[in-house]
Symmetry: C2
Subunit: 253 residues, 2 copies
């Protein structure tokens, strides 16, 4: 299982974690590798353009980030969803997210911050357990049962409202499928709630979810009643447009 590759990627990850530039010994210690091994890995990464060195310290070049940015920009959803996210942000004045599923977690791919002083705080690239947040539940609800079962085996309570029983999760997801949207009432962070809806590609597979988040004080029953249709509509609009973009790759350069 290609240990060299694993070690090399571990070095990259170590460089991402530790900010700024780091020395060979420092990285070697963190990863429990020999100094010479680490040195060679860094040299290779340097040749490949992933890291740069100056006076013995090594730091990441933007290459890794460019690679990731490229990956996401090819993810058509993001480009297509943007206008809808903006509209939703304007309508609701809450923080708006676009999320995708990675194993059993949601990853926030895009967001627009609420203009209000008290707001949900997340960062792009951030993660959360899928079964605890609105967009996550919207995504989970349409996954194969095997994945749902796997998730249901490790339900951990983050707050008093977190779903911790497999049956409860199953019921909740059924409701999501019935309603077309998911709601989170302080299940991940005590004071944070949200509404999410799934986005489908032209084949009918779920590829992402969008939603709003805000303090539970504002995202209450009345807000859910008012905003849920807007969230569903935004997701539907994106889904519809996903089907219509076959080959259009955007503006040049």
């Amino acid at each position: 299982m290609d240990k060299t590759l694993a070690k090399g990627l571990a070095v990259l990850e170590a460089l991402v974690e530790g900010e700024g530039s780091q020395g060979v010994s420092q990285i070697a210690r963190k990863l429990a590798l020999s100094k010479s091994n680490t040195h060679r890995l860094l040299q290779t990464l340097s040749v490949l353009g992933y890291v740069a060195s100056s006076d013995g310290k090594y730091r990441l070049t933007p290459k890794l980030w460019v690679l990731g940015a490229d990956l996401i920009s090819r993810l058509d959803v993001r480009r297509i969803a943007m206008p809808e996210l903006e509209k939703l942000a304007e309508e609701t004045r809450e923080t708006v997210h676009l999320s995708v599923l990675d194993r059993d977690e949601v990853v926030y791919v895009e967001k627009i911050d609420s203009p209000q002083p008290v707001r949900a705080y997340t960062k792009i690239g951030g993660r959360a357990p899928a079964y605890c947040v609105a967009t996550g539940k919207a995504l989970l609800a349409f996954q194969p049962q095997t994945l749902i079962d796997r998730v249901a085996e490790h339900l951990q309570a983050y707050t008093s409202r977190t779903i911790t029983h497999a049956q409860a999760l199953s019921r909740e997801l059924a409701e999501v499928r019935a309603l077309g949207h998911a709601v989170n009432r302080g299940e991940w962070r005590d004071e944070l709630g949200g509404i999410g809806a799934p986005i489908f590609d032209s084949h009918g597979a779920v590829i992402a979810a969008l939603g709003i988040s805000g303090p539970t004080s504002r995202v209450n029953a009345t807000a859910v009643a008012r905003f849920a249709p807007l969230v569903r509509q935004a997701a539907r609009n994106v889904s519809r447009q996903m089907g219509a973009t076959l080959g259009s790759s955007g503006l040049p350069e």
Copy 2:
């Protein structure tokens, strides 16, 4: 020089390039690797969580992107510069960028699009030759002479106005240092101009540049005279704040 690592990263890059999921043989052919070798690399990447497979096809997980996003978010400049970029965008009503240098190219790390219908089109993560664009020249001007010399050896003309002589570049960079800002007059794309200024960290090293871009029709001599001080001021503000943030890592989660 750790060929396995190089091959593994090549596989990742190949997966980024080719959109959607790809097969083993397909990747093997593209990289001129044996099928079994490619297969093992993909398996390793799968174990490490970088790729996921379904019915024999392989695709990237968001992990790579998350890594890159993490990297950039730790780049304090971005967070600190954001408010200044917004202010600049409002003042000039042109597209605003934040760029960093990667070897001899600028990489756009952040941008705010101009509200005007005719506007500079770039994307986050996009690249341009440093010596052809405003933020690039602002960055180059403060690099070690050895790097400048290396860049000056490969001056390629993209438009009729591109700087193609090492001496001319040297003069231009001297002017950038003297004025505190750089100007691009259709040197990269014929109809695109810009103004850029360097951002320094607390040690006085250049770490990024910010600037505005727009159609040459709008970014003319008058506009340069009016906007250059604003761009310089924005960059100065960011530089000043860079020194003031030692250890403040932002809000929790």
